[in-house]
Amino acid sequence: MKLQESPRSPASITQLLWFFGIATVVKLLLIPAYYSTDLEVHRHWLAITHSLPLGQWYYDETSEWTLDYPPFFAYFERFLSFFAPLIDPWIVHLHHGLSYKADSSIYFQRISVIVSDLFLQYGVHISTRNLASLKRNLVWVFVIWSPGLLIVDHLHFQYNGFLFGWLLLSISFLAQGRDLMGGFMFAVLLCFKHLFAVAAPVYFVYLLRHYCRGGLVRGFARLSVLGAIVVAVFAAAYGPFVYHGQIQQVIRRMFPFGRGLCHAYWAPNFWVFYIVLDKGIAFLLRKFGFDIPSPVASFTGGLVGDASPFAVLPRITPMTTFIMVLLALSPCLFKTWRYPRPRLIARSVAYAYTCGFLFGWHIHEKASLHISIPLALVAVESLEDSKHYFLLSVGTKGSLQSDKKATQSDSKGISRTAAEKQWFELGWVAKSYLLGVVVVETWGQFLHPYLLGDKLPFLPLMLISMYCAIGISYSWIWQLKRIIILS
C-alpha cells in the first residue's frame, strides 16, 4: 500500500481497520483448531470473580488453576464475567463449570480476546501516528499481524494483545515527552501482569533523570508527584486486599516458587547453554574415571531442599538469576542515567525484556513476545534495525513453533515477506544461520522421529532451544551495542 496520506486522516483509520479486519478473519478461522488448557484456566477465573466475593478470590482452591495474576487482571475478568452469563450461565458456575468445554464457552472466550485486541490497535495507532505511511504500515504488519502474538493469544489463549496495547501506549507517551502519563500507564500495566516489571528499572532510571530534574526542590517535588501517582495506582489495585489482610496470600499466589529453572519446553535462553555445559563436563569427567553422581532434582521441577539439579557446575537460585538480569541491564541503565533520551526509550524497554528473557528464572518462550513487540517500533528506524528484527523474529518464532506440535503455521514466511520490502542484503553468516534454522526444524519435526524413533526424545527440543538461544544472544549483544552507540 503506497498511499501517501496525512497520518491523522480518516483514510489511515480505514487502513488500520483493514489490517485489523484481516487479522480478525485469521483469528476466527483458528478458533476450531486447538483447545488450550488456558481456556479452562481463564474460564475458571471468570467463575471465581463472578461467583465469589473479593475476599476469596485469592484463597479459592476449587480447582488447581488458582488466580496468579495481579488484581487489575482479576477486575478485568470480573468485567468479562458480566457478559458471560448472558451467553451461557454455566460458564461462570463455580462447580458445574469445571472443565466446561461447550462451544458457547469457547467462542465467548475466543471472541473476547479478539475484541480486546482492539486496544492493541489503539496502542499501535497512537505509537505510529507520526511515522511516514510506509514505515507505519510495516509496524502494523509486525504488530497486528505478528505471528507470535497470533500463536500465543489465539491458539494458546492469552490476553497479551490487550496488555501490549498498554505497553505501546506507555512507550509512546514517554517518547512524546509526556512522562507522567507514561509512568502512570506503566504502573497500571504492572498491576495487570507483573511480568512486565522486568522493564521497571529502565522506567525508574529514565523517569528519575528525565522528569525529576531542574534543581533539588523542583526535582523532589516532581518525584513526589510521580511517587504519589504510582502509589495511588497500586492502592487501587491492592488496597482492597490489604484491607482484608490478604496481601501475603496474594503475593504468594503471584510468585509461585515451586517451579524450576526452566520451563518444560526449554526457552532459548542462557541457561540452556549452562545446562548443556554442565551435562557435557559431567560426561567428560565420567569418561576420565571420576565419579560424578547423577543429580536427583530435575530442571523443570521445584526446588527440592538442598539437592541441586546440576552435576558439576554451581547451583543456580532465583536470586542468582535476579542479579544476572540486573548486571546485564546495567550498561543500559548507565546510558539512560547519563543521556535520558525519549527516542531511545523503546529500545531500552526492548533491551530490558531481552535481558530478562535471557537470564530470568522459569522463562516461557512466550516471553519472547515482550522483545519483539516493542522492538517492532524500532525496526523501521533504519535498515540495520530491520535486518536485525528479521533475524530475531526467525529465532523467536522457531522456538515458539517447537512448543506447538499441533500447529502447522508458517510464521517465518510472513516475517520474511514483510522484511523483503526493505531490500536489505544478508551477509553469509546470517544466511547460514537461517539455513540452519530450517535444518534444525526439519530434523526435529521429520527426520528425528523417522530415523531415531523414540530414542533420545529430548534431543530435537534441545537442539532447537540451543540454536534459537544463539540467535537471541546475538540479538542481545547487538541491541546493547546499538544502545551504547546511539545518542
Binding site: L3, G21, L28
Partner: protein
Amino acid sequence: MEITLNIPAKDWYRNSTFNDLSYWGLDYPPLTAYQSYIHGAFLKTFDPDSIALFTSRGYESYLGKLLMRWTVLSSDVLIFFPAVLYIVLVYCSMQLCIGQNNDVAWHVAMILLNPCLILIDHGDFQYNCISLGLTIAAIAAALSQKDLVASVLYCLALNQKQMSAYFAPAFFSYLLGTFSVAWWPYLQSKEAALAVLSRLAPFERGIFEDYVANFWCTSSMLVKWKKLYSTQSLRIFGLAATLLTCLPSMVQQVLAPSSKGFLYVLLNSSQHHFSSFKYAVHGKSILLPLLPLTLLALEVHQSLLWLTHFAMFSMFPLLHRDKLVLAYIALYALFLLVYFAPGGPSGRRNGSKTRDHSQTTKIGMEFISSIAFHPLVMGFLGLCSLVLHVIYITMHPTNKYPFLFEAVIMLICFSQFVLFTLQFKAVDAIETSNIKS
C-alpha cells in the same frame, strides 16, 4: 485410494468382488485414479490401515484425516497456485488490462482467496483445485499462443474431472489427440471404454441432486418433471437444451477468435451449462463459471462480487450441514476485505476498465451496469440474503414443507444466475459486434 492401490488398473471401473461400485466407486476419469494412486501410496507409508482393502471402509482416524487434508493442500499449492501466477502474469503482460502494479497482487488474491473454492476443497474435501488449476494453466498457455501446451494441459484437466468438459466448446479449436494417451488401458475393448463412460455420466441419478440453483430444479416446483417424463427422455431434453443455448457463443468464437473473446466464451459456455439446462448438475459446478470470472476480475470486479455472493449463498445449506458456518463467515469476510482493500481496484471505481471501446459499447455496458449494480438494488439484495441466512440457522420449517428454506434460497440464487447469464450474453454480443465493425 483403496481401490487404485489394491486392484490392477483394468479393474478399476469394473464391478467385482473387490471393487464394489455401489460403495463410492470411481466416478471420475483416469487421471483422478492415477492421482488417487499416488496419494494412496503416500498414505500407505504413514497410516496403512486407512486404505487397506475392505477393512478400511468407514475407517476414521485423526492421522488419516490429517494426511488426506494434506494431499488436497499439497495439490493446491503444487498445481493451482503456480497456474494462477502464470495466468495473472500472462493476462497483465498482454495488456488485456490497464492497471497498476499492485493490481497483480489484488488479482492473484482474488483468485486464490475465492471462498467457494476454499470451502469446497478444504472444508468439504474435494480435488477441484487440480482440474481447475490445469484448466487455468491451459487458458494461460492458449493466451500466450502455446497451443500444444494448452491442449495437453486441457486434456489433463478433462481427464481429471469430466466437469471441465463445459469449457470444451471454447477449447474446441485447440483439442488434439492427447486424449488417447490417458485412456490407453481402456481402449483395448469397446466394453472397457463404455464402462468408464458410464461411471462418468451417472444417469441413474435423477435430473438433479440435492437442491441446486438450476433450471430443472427451480421449475420442478411448478412442473414435476420427474413424474411427467422418464429418465431417458429427460436426459435427451437436457442435452438438447444445453447444446442449443451454447451454440451462439460457439459460432461467435469460430467466426471471430480473439484472446479477450476466448475468455468471455469460457465464461458463457460454462455458465450456460450450469445455470440453465445441464442435466444432473451438482452444486459445486458453480465453481466453473466462477473460474473465468476471476480471471477477468480486473475488468468486471462488480460482477465477481455479485456472483461470488450468490454462489456462496447457494452453497450455504450444504455448508451448514457440514458445520462449516464459521469458516463460511470468515472466508467471506476475508474475500470482502481483500476486494475492498485500500489502494486496490475497487477503490478506483471511476477509472475506465477496458481499452478501445466505441462510444456505443461503453454506453451500453454502462446502462446495464447502472441497473444491475445500483447501490440500492445491491443493498436490498444483500439485506435479503442476510435475513435469509439468519432465518435458515435459527428457525425450523414446518413439517409440510421441510425444504422450504432451501427452495427459497435456490430460487433467489437461480434468478441471479439467470440475470448474470443474460448480462454476459449481452456484453459478449456487444463485444463481437464491436470487433466485427
